[in-house]
Amino acid sequence: MASRLRTMRENGSLLALPTISWLVIFFVLPLIIVLVFSFMSRGRGGVAIMPFTLDHYGRTFDVFFIILQRSIGLAALTTIICLIAGYPLAFFISTRRRRIVQQVALFLVILPFWTNFLIRTYAWRILLGEEGTINGLLLSLGLISEPLPLLNTQLAVLIGLVYGFLPFMALPIYASVERFNFRYVDAAQDLGANDIRAFMRIVLPLTLPGVLAGCALVFIPSVGAFVTPDLLGGAKGLMIGNLINKQFGGSGNMPLGSALSIVMMAVVMISLLVYIFANRRDAGAS
């Protein structure tokens, strides 16, 4: 025993032991319990009881499929919009010639995100509400005669998600554009490439790692979003995160909630694998 302890000390695994134990008990074990719960039946008060069943997965892909679909669709759309908005923004920031201007431009992207996510999301309730700022402005300009239904829609959720995660797209892209050597573009043009060709063949491939990281960083939290649809979506903008939340209330169903989270985890894992695969292929190609 003593000698075993000594080898553990020598190879450093003793240092890792407390942290690994913590993560196994409070991270891995809870996930295993969720997995087991997801196959159990619903008892009184929404708790999990025997026997095992596949019912909850059945319902996830049946009655709740539309919500699963909506979550993935909204997350995908969020990622695309963030990419379209974030890429030129990152380009703009990293091509400022003066260092101080660049830093200010970057700071202006980061600063709003020092505010709590809840409050940033709440701000959109002020803007989008029936008696909100946007409707007030449009009414006073005479562009509309009735307030538009903006809040509690899928559009509101989409806006909230893009707002919440745009920097997650812009910052990794900024990091890769910053490293990009613009002489490659000159070289491509000297060799007869036009701007579009130079962009597609040189700029985009070389900044692809940032794009891929940005997409993963936006898509994953969007799929699992809870606060944004909760504050902005109402019944029409319900996402899978809200559905999971509902299973833990008074009239809840923990096994169903567990099954829903396992499915959500699966979506996240698949998108991570796609990211890792794409990244590896990109690294191999260049």
Binding site: A16, P18, I20, L108, L127, L139, D195, S258, V268
Partner: protein
């Protein structure tokens, strides 16, 4: 078919390319303008309407500070009483949870970072994934898995010992430590990667035992990383809503959980005022911690 030669310049293609370039340049200016507007408008509108004379958020009618004084006087809207006391208590809870969770997470995160950088043992890539997962899985998954875990554990303890435990500070702290360990480990590992391992060996050659070599050489060198990791953990802990929401008990709400209760209701000028105060405070807090980090980094 003529072979295109670089000397034979195609007028059409040149014109097309010029048009594309102009379009690109306009886009490159318009897009950031729109993006910055999009990022800042909601925040500015929120701040603006916290000073609005009328309760409306549709148009600005005049400047007032009355919503701020309302908060101080425990008034919230026409119908509801608001307790500044409860809000301050929630803030104290946040600081308490954040401090304890940061200390534990910093120790555990630094230990694993050291073990991963210096240790030689099997299963390292497995541990890598174990450290990576809490960062990437959605908060709601981690939140409900911990909520279920505590429920199961407390049921179990109740049947064995007959004593019923309830969620409270301990469950929130455990949850915060769990999601913070990875972030601390990432920051400290980055610092360790920059460090020259020969310095430690040199200390050993000069007769220092590993314990002494660690405290005299390694620790001072990684300290800026440890401090950055701790500040990050503290910020994440103060900011967390979803995981806290699912693991907190009666009377142990943190500030975000308390604020969520307000924001869920309706848009009121008092809520706008509270949000503005929180925004200013968190911006100051992060600004100060970053400035401190910058000073540490330049010293280290």
């Amino acid at each position: 078919m003529a072979i295109p030669s670089p000397l034979l310049i195609n007028e059409d293609a040149m014109r097309r390319n010029r048009a594309v370039r102009r379009l690109g340049q306009v886009g490159l200016w318009l897009n950031p303008l729109f993006a910055y507007f999009f990022l800042w408008a909601p925040i500015l509108v929120l701040v603006l309407f916290s000073f609005n004379e009328s309760r409306s958020v549709a148009s600005f009618t005049g400047f007032t500070l009355k919503w701020y004084t309302n908060i101080l006087n425990n008034v919230m809207g026409a119908e509801r009483a608001f307790s500044t006391e409860i809000m301050l208590n929630a803030f104290r809870n946040s600081l308490f949870v954040g401090t304890i969770a940061t200390i534990i997470a910093t120790v555990l995160g630094t230990l694993i970072a050291l073990a991963m950088a210096r240790g030689r043992f099997p299963g390292k890539s497995l541990i890598d994934s174990l450290l990576f997962l809490p960062v990437v899985i959605p908060e709601i998954t981690q939140a409900i898995s911990l909520a279920i875990f505590f429920k199961v554990a407390f049921d179990w303890i109740a049947t064995i010992s007959g004593e019923r435990l309830f969620p409270g500070f301990h469950t929130i702290i455990i949850a915060h430590v769990t999601f913070n360990i990875s972030f601390v480990a990432i920051v400290v590992r980055a610092r360790l990667a920059d460090m020259n391992p020969q310095l430690e060996e040199a200390a050993g050659d000069l007769g220092a035992n590993p314990w002494r070599a660690f405290w005299r050489v390694t620790f001072p060198l990684i300290l800026p990383g440890v401090i950055s990791g701790a500040l990050l953990a503290f910020t994440l802990s103060l900011d967390d809503f979803v995981i806290t929401f699912f693991t907190s008990g009666v009377g142990t709400s943190t500030l975000p959980v308390f604020v969520y209760g307000l924001l869920k209701l309706t848009v009121t000028p008092e809520v706008n005022a509270i949000s503005t105060i929180m925004m200013v405070l968190s911006t100051l807090l992060i600004g100060i911690s970053l400035a401190m980090q910058g000073r540490n980094a330049s010293r280290g």
